[in-house]
Symmetry: C2
Amino acid sequence: MNIMYEPIGIIHTGMKEREGTPIQSTFGSEHRGRVELYEQYVEGLCDLDGFSHAYLLFHFHKSSGFSLKVRPFLDETERGVFATRAPRRPNPIGLSIVTILGIEGNTVNFSGVDILDGTPLLDIKPYIGDFDTRGDIRTGWAEPAIKNNQRRHADDRFSE
Amino acid sequence: MNIMYEPIGIIHTGMKEREGTPIQSTFGSEHRGRVELYEQYVEGLCDLDGFSHAYLLFHFHKSSGFSLKVRPFLDETERGVFATRAPRRPNPIGLSIVTILGIEGNTVNFSGVDILDGTPLLDIKPYIGDFDTRGDIRTGWAEPAIKNNQRRHADDRFSE
């Protein structure tokens, strides 16, 4: 069974290469980007300006192939890919939560950039605290890794 | 540009029809489901059991076509589809945050069910509070709608 999607727009950022790009949007809060939505979808942006944050779902267009075990940016140990946010996944779909700065026409300006310039956009969804925040959570390997690791930007580990 | 994905597994739940299915996983916390990951991807589940919550990304396989303006489950006013979590989207990708109950072999048992039985799974990502919770948020139309609307389950508004 194949599932076919088409980009609904392009994400523009100042990040031209993976190396040096923030590995999470929380680490890229000082960077700004913009979504250029294709004109035929602009009506779907109505009411999004009432939200402070949105999910961007996108295609990791610079990833090819995948590994089931990966060494995530925050760790030196191999982990199951589904326990990481690494880009080389069986279906290379990326998920970022960004801060909406403003919407003009087909452009959504945002901050919180961990996305490469030119990335094809698949979907935008509003971030809704009542649905999307969870308390009392465990975060496995990531908890000590985030505490102890000062890495905030990508290196070349997922390059071909 | 077409982007092609293949399901990595199937999501099994007790929800056979959209009507009556919880509209968010937070409203389906008493329901349990399970991911049946295809055998070739099982190694990718390593380390996921350290996490209490995960994102499931899936294909809304019962949706066909899309509308740029939709009447979301929690509202009677039409909203831009990208300001809603409605299933009839240009790329019908669903996003749920579920609670991991346990992992055995290729099966991930979870609670927090807002997904129809038989839904094709695209990806699993760990939920990481440091990356995925946001404070000081605005949620536009959804804020009064969630406060004032007692609807917790889907009706037939997105049926064909």
